[in-house]
Amino acid sequence: MQVWTKLFAKSPFKPLIKHAEVVLETVETLERALELWYDKKYQEMEKIAVEVDNLEDIADRIKEEIRDSLTTKLFMPVNRNDILEYLHMQDKIADAAEDTAKWLLIKRPKEIPEDIKEIILKMGKESIKAAKLVHTAIVQMDTVIESGFSEKEIEKEYEFIKEIESVENKIDGLDTKLMKLVFENEDKLSWGDGFYILNIARTLSNISDKAKDAAERIRLMMNK
């Protein structure tokens, strides 16, 4: 009796968008934590950083659900492996945010030079941009399918992908600048603080790295 309800499986794109929303929230929460960290409000910062961890858990759960539903038995307009790989990358964005939060929780630093702190804050802000763009890109992928793979919509999607790549590039530049600054200030920083800062920067730049990888997968989805 319900053959049509069984024949049409649930679209994987709605849950993918949901997942992207949670990932974005994770990155936004991390940025809030970074701002508190910048203002040296460590106690509040630690509370928010724990929240990042919780959000990452939620993203993980959604990821598992999507994976379970994407069996080989589905016939879809895009390659199943591309979707799974994309999901993996999108989830890594949240993982990277969680890694940064972990490093923020590991210790309360002594004096850190203002310019270093500013770069870290900037990296956090740019990471939100990357996560927002990933969300926009997956929503746009849904539109691309809705439009019957219209050239116009594919063009728009390429624009988003390019933007993600340029954000990644920018964060890469900030990361390099920061590393240099840390070594320029090696006399003022303790060994521990230097290690701590470098790891925060590394995990932060990971966020946009993974965003770029996710964007790369969307490119493949359209080219099936």
């Binding site: 024949l7 038995k73 016939f75 019957g148 116009k152």
Partner: protein, 403 residues
């Protein structure tokens, strides 16, 4: 003439079959429109009720074979009671199989159910020799042809819609301009069928002219109606809103073509028994009185209203992934293939065509996810239909003969 109690039994069983066709098949054919949110289950029941009846009564075959699709050799049946018992057995088996399939959610073909039923009693009566294996080959061919025609047509229709409407720079405007053409095309087919079936015209040229005239009128009317504003932020939602309206019409188109094509499965055997009861043993073909066609149409309509309603209600709640442009492509293609095929005399099954059309849209990258294993289940059920219906019919026939 109604003194023969077996005739009354046949009529009752025929009504039961018509009811089962309405409950399973008609509901399935209209489910895409309900699933895409173009019509509510209640509207579907009204549209299906009226148009299945119209299709059956006006477009249904006025002459039917004594034996459905000539699947067994009627000249080997010398005893009229065999034809009567056989028809009852075949109808009963087919209707029961349809009900079982409905229960398990499998869209099986009503045509193949009744063909299976006829083979069943034929073999029990006269052995394998009575079966017209060439005709069986035709039925097997239709398992393959129906979904393939449905898929090709739907693939082309969806590609055409996405090229002309979805991919244009102003999708909503294009939808307003192009969808009346699709409506017009549907009416070309309906108009031509009206000339051939209702006015019993023979000339293909006049049929085409009738069709083009009907199509043109439908084009103008829908063009004017769709001038209304469909303003939305997202152009694709605007397009879907327009196709939502168009789909109301195509769902009627599906119901009409289904009624025209499938009513024979319920009333063919009844007409055969009626001919035997009134004029003695009949030949290869018997006329179908209008009242029997009406009865078939009514049975289907009641089937839709009673059980089909439930089917469509569930479907309406569950398929939200199907958008109107996709639903339209499926409906339009299936109905057109069925109407043209029934005119050409090709053995086409509505159900198989609709399923094929869904896959066709999927191949055009139009559907976000189709369950491949359900497609497999459906195809298996198609192969099982004939043998199961044959077996059940054979058993019922044996019991009737012993009694």
């Amino acid at each position: 003439m109604f003194t023969d109690p077996w005739l009354l039994v046949t009529i009752a069983v025929g009504l039961f079959m018509a009811w089962a066709i309405g409950a399973n098949d008609a509901a399935n054919s209209m489910s895409t429109a309900v699933g895409a949110g173009a019509i509510t289950p209640k509207q579907a029941v009204i549209i299906a009720g009226v148009l299945e009846f119209t299709g059956a009564y006006f477009f249904g075959k006025s002459v039917t074979e004594t034996i459905r699709k000539g699947i067994i050799n009627p000249s080997q049946i010398t005893d009229p009671t065999v034809l009567i018992y056989g028809s009852i057995a075949a109808l009963l088996a087919a209707a029961l199989w349809l009900l079982i399939a409905t229960k398990f959610g499998l869209p099986v073909s009503t045509t193949h159910s009744i063909v299976g039923g006829v083979i069943g009693y034929g073999i029990v009566y006269a052995g394998m020799g009575i079966v017209n294996w060439g005709k069986i080959a035709q039925v097997v061919a239709s398992w393959i042809l129906s979904p393939i025609f449905g898929a090709i047509m739907a693939f082309v229709v969806f590609k055409a819609i996405s090229k002309t409407i979805l991919q244009s720079s102003t999708p909503v405007k294009s939808a307003k301009n192009y969808s009346p053409i699709w409506i017009g095309l549907a009416f070309v087919v309906i108009g031509a069928m009206f000339y051939i079936k209702v006015m019993h015209g023979k000339s293909l040229l006049i049929a085409l002219r009738c069709g083009v005239l009907a199509g043109f009128i439908a084009f103008l009317i829908s063009f004017v109606i769709l001038r209304r504003n469909f303003r939305t932020a997202d152009p694709y939602i605007g397009v879907e809103a327009i196709f939502k309206r168009v789909q109301v019409l195509t769902s009627a188109y599906v119901a009409l073509s289904h009624g025209a094509n499938d009513v024979a499965n319920a009333i063919g055997p009844v007409a055969a028994v009626y001919a035997v009861a009134t004029t003695g043993l009949a030949g290869m073909k018997v006329p179908v009185p209008r009242w029997i066609l009406a009865m078939g149409g009514l049975g289907i309509a009641v089937g839709v209203a009673t059980y089909g309603y439930k089917v469509m209600e569930t479907v309406g709640k569950k398929i939200t992934e199907l958008t109107n442009t996709r639903g339209f492509s499926i409906d339009f293609s299936a109905a057109t293939v069925v109407l043209i095929a029934s005119w050409l005399g090709l053995p086409i099954s509505t159900t198989h065509t609709v399923v094929g059309a869904v896959i066709g849209v999927g191949l055009a990258r139009g559907v976000k996810a189709i369950n491949k294993n359900i497609v497999k289940d459906i195809i298996i059920s198609w192969f099982v239909t004939v043998p199961v219906a044959a077996l059940v019919s054979g058993i019922i026939f044996k019991i009737l003969m012993v009694m």
